[in-house]
């Protein structure tokens, strides 16, 4: 086949632009439009096989092939040709029901397109983009030498790419600048000594109606608030006054009357500090302040003194309650409850399990009580030996939070429980040492260093007015802020700003800081990553450092940035970065976005899954820890699919993966949450990425699975494919929460629609196979309705998969495909751009090289990727 020479010339023409004022960098760009004639054979192929649906009128799926030129002058056009390449090589196009090209025609067309695409897109440079939230946070920390937490700030999410740090799809809006300004104000606050106004002590009389009540956490009877639950979730077990918030840091005196109801054991009330503006979370995360013990059936007035910070409230929690849900404690509790009350056991043994909500809360308890008085239950004499006992315990444990809201009422009536009769709060009585003030003073000294004149506590504190000294100090500050050396004119400009502000009558250090921060945070040099004013070395150092630590470069990396252009230098610095604790940010951010794990916090699992904050955390951290282990132990890529372990907490292993005997009975409950390497059987469906809970949960909606979402996840995250978004005009095929419609029926609906078929032919089979996992990642055989899950599918290229295990085996046989997918995602994350055809080809070649050398291992692969032209092109 003959192809036009002009194509090659055209695509190579004009790729380099002069670096002139930006240093010696050789930039590779596609600024100049590129197009060339499509050879006759190519045109014939398009005309015969494609134009019926992809001409300018119909342009199915947004693809218009009524062209004569191979035009790759824009990213969209390149993407279109890449889609053509994928669709034809996957055999998805032309569609099965159309006339198909011969294999020779197909091979020749693909061969031309492959060469044309390789020629069209030599390695690119990355455009400028704003810093992401975590990059902003770390750059501010590095610049101002303090620690910040911006996690509560709402930053734009890059919806056009896999990662937030991809330049395409990032957007500089006024909203973003406002966020940067708000982050800057936090820096100013962190460097401003607060001279808080003196708050006069006062007394609050807080009646029982003023205590928070949620999820049956308390029961109000007369003038008493009863506490009986020992559940970890604060919002389900504890209470706090809703009309008192400490107005200032200080000691507060609490006086309250306590009454206990218990058989014999003493009751213990713990008081913790709670900031009502923060998520309620678990009791173990709250600062402990005091405790009071009370013998059974006693009443007494108690006074305790506690130290509260401004904005906090005291939180009351009955820590001695036997009603706890963690680990085996709940089962122990149920055994004890049913031993004492076999009539409850009898009632619940007769209950219909699907009518769950009738047992919840005070109404549920009342029902339990009423039924238990019936003769048939009162004297039935059932116990642990009943054949339905295990099944009942399993059912109750499945909905433990719900039943805790029922049983708590039993303890309010019969103990152990404890009542508070209102609380009197007096304060602030005396100041207490606040670490915040000291931290600010240290930060101020650390940031301004020798520029600071006077004692921080003294009001005479000021900055030196020596111009040279200020300029020298600013060189360091600006270097850290810009991730690049400042120009002399920049140093002069910022020096003038500081001196000018100092001279303004009465200007304080706070005002100088504010002005400096206000200018820095919105300046282009600070805000843009890969700024054209930075040198080649500076850019590469920033790229590597932001990739492997989400922090700007510092220390030896900064000093020796020139070494990064050699393979050994790059790998040495990368290895050093991976050893630092800051590499945790790489694992968390990369894995979080690569596998969509960062989405799970936005999902509210249905109550039937009885989720709590710790289970969320356990599931969320598993893929991160797993990936980290794969890198640190340099494990072969096959272990992503077929490891003999899971790396998670015993609780998640037991609860989600059903691994037996993993919960150690004598271990402290908190330790059941520490992730560890847990051996897993060689045929366990949950082993490796395919059965990992976090992505399976992220690809569900909290209620049921979303098979299309899971299929897309598999293609994009595991195989590294880029899929176009769904066409807007097509209605969503709503998942059926009752499972009445089978996945096969859904598949047919997709494949029946012409606009859907090309993508869904690829997507849906993987989604169907993954239906074997429920919305939180547990293996299932059937839907809730009892309908069997049928996971047998034929993939777009004709492979027959009967189950998850087949999919896993297929991945193991084609580990190079996963290698390319992972490599593409790692590089995209590192360089901050989508890879083009040529760059993907570089990854492919690397995978082939490593595989043939038997070196396709995670850490080796990662370090090799950093030495590719794709990573180093600036």
């Amino acid at each position: 086949m003959k192809f036009s020479r002009s194509l090659v010339q055209a695509v190579l023409f004009g790729l380099a632009i002069a670096a002139s004022s930006f240093g010696a960098r050789v930039a590779i760009s596609q600024d100049v439009p590129i197009s060339a004639e499509i050879p006759d054979q190519g045109l014939t192929f398009l005309e015969t096989n494609c134009l019926e649906c992809h001409d300018s009128d119909l342009a199915e799926a947004g693809v218009d092939l009524s062209v004569y030129d191979f035009d790759v002058s824009s990213a969209e056009k390149v993407a279109m040709w890449e889609r053509v390449m994928t669709a034809v090589s996957d055999g998805v196009m032309p569609p099965q029901d159309q006339k198909r090209p011969t294999s020779i025609q197909r091979t020749e067309f693909l061969s031309w397109l492959d060469r044309a695409l390789l020629n069209a897109g030599s390695v690119q440079r990355t455009g400028v983009r704003p810093l992401t939230r975590s990059e902003l946070e770390s750059t501010l920390e590095e610049t101002f030498r303090l620690s910040l937490d911006l996690s509560d700030m709402s930053f734009p999410r890059n919806r056009k790419a896999h990662f937030d740090r991809i330049a395409e799809g990032s957007f500089v809006s006024s909203h973003l600048l406002t966020m940067y300004q708000a982050a800057g104000e936090r820096v100013v606050d962190a460097l401003s000594l607060q001279r808080e106004e003196i708050v006069e002590p006062k007394i609050w009389e807080l009646g029982v109606e003023q205590f928070n009540n949620s999820y049956s956490s308390i029961t109000v009877k007369g003038d008493r608030v009863w506490l009986a639950s020992g559940v970890e979730d604060v919002i389900r077990s504890s209470t706090w006054p809703t009309r008192f918030i400490a107005p200032a840091d200080g000691i507060y005196k609490l006086t309250f009357r306590l009454a206990g109801l218990s058989d014999d054991s003493p009751l213990r009330l713990d008081i913790h500090a709670q900031n009502p503006l923060l998520p309620e979370g678990g009791i173990s995360t709250k600062r402990h302040l005091a405790f009071v013990e009370l013998n059974s059936d006693h009443e007494r007035v108690t006074t305790v003194e506690i130290a509260l910070q401004a904005g906090e409230v005291p939180l009351f929690y009955l820590s001695s309650s036997p009603l706890k849900l963690e680990g085996d404690l709940f089962e122990t509790y149920l055994d004890s409850l049913f031993r004492k009350h076999p009539e409850f056991l009898s009632v619940l043994l007769s209950a219909e399990h699907h009518e769950l909500s009738q047992w919840r809360g005070s109404a549920g308890y009342q029902k339990l009580l009423d039924l238990s008085k019936l003769e048939e239950h009162r004297n039935r004499g059932v116990g642990k030996g009943h054949p339905g006992y295990r099944r009942l315990i399993h059912w109750i444990k499945q909905s433990r939070a719900l039943f805790a809201e029922t049983f708590v009422h039993h303890h309010v009536e019969h103990g152990p429980s404890l009542a508070l009769s209102g609380v009197s709060v007096e304060g602030p009585l005396a100041p207490f040492w606040s670490p915040r003030d000291e931290r600010i003073e240290q930060s101020l000294k650390f940031f301004y260093g020798r520029l600071l004149v006077g004692d921080a506590i003294d009001e005479s504190l000021r900055l030196s007015d020596d111009r040279k000294e200020i300029s020298n100090w600013l060189r360091g500050v600006l270097r850290r802020a810009f991730r690049s050396y400042p120009t002399e004119s920049e140093v002069i400009c910022y020096t003038d700003l500081i001196i000018g502000t100092s001279k303004e009558a009465g200007a304080t250090i706070e005002e100088i800081t504010r002005k400096l921060v206000a200018k820095l945070v919105v300046s282009d040099r600070f805000l843009f990553h890969q700024h054209p004013m930075a040198s080649e070395e500076e850019m590469l150092a920033a790229r590597l450092s932001f990739m492997l630590s989400s922090r700007p470069p510092s220390g030896s990396l900064w000093q020796e940035a020139g070494e990064l252009f050699s393979k050994s230098g790059m790998q040495k610095h990368a290895a050093e970065l991976l050893q630092r604790s800051s590499s945790q940010a790489f694992y968390e951010e990369f894995v979080g976005q690569w596998l969509h794990v960062s989405d799970i916090r936005q999902i509210m699992p249905d109550q039937k899954f009885r989720f709590n904050d710790r289970l969320f955390r356990g599931i969320e951290e598993e893929p991160v820890k797993f990936f980290q282990l794969m890198v640190e132990e340099d494990r072969p890529l096959e272990d992503f699919f077929d490891p003999d372990f899971v790396y998670t907490s015993p609780f998640v292993a037991s609860r989600i993966y059903g691994i037996p005997d993993v919960l150690v009975p004598d271990r402290r409950p908190a330790n059941q949450w520490v992730p560890e390497k847990i051996t897993i059987s060689a045929d366990h469906p949950n082993r490796g990425l395919i059965g990992m809970a976090a992505p399976l949960m992220a690809t569900s909606n909290g209620v049921d699975t979303e098979l299309v979402h899971r299929g897309v996840w598999f293609l994009e995250s595991i195989l590294g494919r880029d899929l176009p978004g769904p066409p807007e005009a097509v209605p969503a095929i709503t998942p059926d929460t009752n499972g009445a419609r089978t996945p096969a029926a859904l598949l047919r609906k997709h494949t029946a629609h012409k606009g859907c078929v090309s993508c869904h032919q690829k997507i849906d089979p993987f989604g169907v196979v993954l239906e074997r996992f429920d919305p939180i990642g547990r293996v299932r055989e059937s839907y809730e309705t009892g309908a069997r899950i049928d996971a047998e599918v034929t993939t777009f290229d004709g492979r027959e998969l009967r189950d998850v295990e087949d999919l896993r085996q297929w991945m193991l046989q084609n580990i190079d495909q996963f290698g390319v997918g992972l490599g593409v995602r790692l590089l995209e994350y590192g360089v901050g751009r989508r890879l083009n055809y040529t760059e993907r080809d570089e990854v492919k070649k690397l995978v082939v090289k490593l595989q043939s050398a038997g070196e396709l291992r995670t850490r080796t692969f990662l370090l090799e990727l950093l030495t590719t032209d794709t990573f180093k092109s600036l």
């Binding site: 983009r129 500089v172 009518e355 809360g361 809201e405 400009c493 300046s523 805000l527």
Partner: protein
């Protein structure tokens, strides 16, 4: 004559006075900006939705008998319409609640933001996003797909709308510093733009535009600090009602603050996100049998539905009181604030008991769209909630042709 009557401002808990910027009149303030017919939009979203059988009237048209949840709105009968059978065809689950104002694709620019760009020109705040309770899902999304933060602390919302004298100097310092440096930054950045390639130049142009718009907003905020102020006898509670048990109290206060923000022309677009976690509310000294979220999973248990309706009726009572406030304020032309405002009450959750996001209970009040009583649509038909949104946009002068997948609008609402 001052068009906004002093007595029209809300009466709060009494006590210390509140200082807000004073405009000669709503109309006067707007006309200073060359805006002769200002209109306003408020969207209220309930996270757990409403019990459908108690929200949708049985009859269609104007002569329906108010179902239980609409009874508190009886006196506004001529000023609202209720819609059944509308939704975005979004998938089920709590997670898709955020489709409420966006349409099926979460992250598309939400209705309030599409309107804000058009309606709030010249106002100090383009829009105000509030929440009663700590919101689980976002309700408003910017054009760039950013979920906009919602303020759930009454005191923070208050200081966002009205700068108290204690904050005034701090804000002035922040704004003055910020503004003076933006000019410098703009000049530095402009000098660079000639040296950029095509892609980077586009990004820099975006950046320069964003800087200019930030500067403009800071200038507006600085001007607002110097405006004439009037004492308003509205007092917030001593502590913010942020604990779950005080969610309904927070809801009522947030409505008050929206009303004040509209009256003072601080903004013309506001949203209120009503949360739905587990507070156990007490009515007449008697706590309900379970928390709000648990009640929403009523499983058709009559007693639970009754308890749930106690809460949901509070939402429509609060809405009714809000409509009263808007109705009680007239300008010199005799038009009430309600005449020039559209208030949308809705949700992204059709049936919380089943986590289904179809057939979303929806109500539209105010004088901008025609009141037609109850309009019922077929859930499998062609009309989408987006069609209603398009009609609202058109009533406010926007000429958008499409809202997500809807493009027809609802002709019955046209005036």
């Amino acid at each position: 004559m001052r068009a906004v009557k002093r007595r029209s401002f809300l009466q709060g808990c009494g006590g210390a006075a509140l200082t807000i910027p004073w405009f000669d009149s709503l109309l006067g303030a707007a006309s200073k900006r060359g805006d002769l017919n200002p209109t306003r939009f408020v969207a209220v979203g309930a996270y757990l939705g409403f019990h459908q059988d108690s929200f949708f009237p049985e009859a269609v048209g104007k002569d329906f008998v108010s179902p239980m949840l609409l009874e508190p709105l009886e006196r506004h009968r001529d000023h609202y319409s209720v819609f059944s059978g509308l939704d975005h065809r979004a998938a089920s689950g709590h997670h898709n609640w955020s489709s409420f104002l966006c349409g099926k694709k979460i992250g598309s620019e939400s209705l309030d933001q599409r309107l804000a760009r058009h309606l709030s020109t010249g106002c100090r705040l383009e829009s105000l996003q509030l929440a009663a309770g700590k919101p689980v899902e976002a309700m408003s999304f910017s054009a760039e797909g950013v979920p906009l933060p919602e303020i759930y602390r009454a005191s923070q919302a208050y200081s966002q709308i009205f700068t108290s004298s204690s904050d005034r100097e701090r804000n002035r310092a922040i704004l003055t510093s910020g503004r003076s440096v933006i000019d410098d930054v703009l000049n530095d950045a402009k000098s660079l733009s000639g040296k950029l390639n095509h892609h980077d130049r586009q990004r820099f142009d975006q950046y320069l535009e964003a800087l200019r718009s930030v500067e403009l907003r800071m200038a507006k905020n600085l001007n607002a600090l110097d405006m004439e102020t009037v004492e308003i006898p509205y007092k917030l509670p001593e502590t913010d009602p942020v604990s779950p048990s005080r969610m309904l109290e927070s809801e009522s206060i947030m409505y008050d603050l929206i009303s004040l923000a509209l009256q003072s022309d601080t903004t013309r677009v506001a949203t209120l996100n009503i949360d739905g976690k587990g507070p156990v509310f007490t009515f007449d000294g008697q706590p309900l049998q379970a928390g709000y979220h648990a009640l929403s999973h009523h499983g058709n248990d009559i007693s639970k539905i009754q308890d749930l309706l106690r809460i949901e009726r509070e939402h429509t009572k609060c809405l009714s009181a809000f409509l009263d406030q808007l109705h009680g304020i007239s300008d010199s032309e005799g038009r009430t604030l309600l005449d020039t405002t559209t208030v949308l009450l809705g949700t992204g959750m059709g049936d919380a008991s089943r986590h289904e996001n179809l057939n979303l209970p929806t109500l539209v009040a105010g004088g901008m769209v025609k009141s037609v009583g109850h309009l019922r649509y077929d859930s499998n038909g062609e009309t989408l909630l987006g069609d209603l949104f398009l009609s609202i946009e058109r009533a406010h002068g926007l000429e958008n042709r499409k809202f997500c997948e809807a493009h027809a609008g609802i002709s019955e609402l046209e005036k």
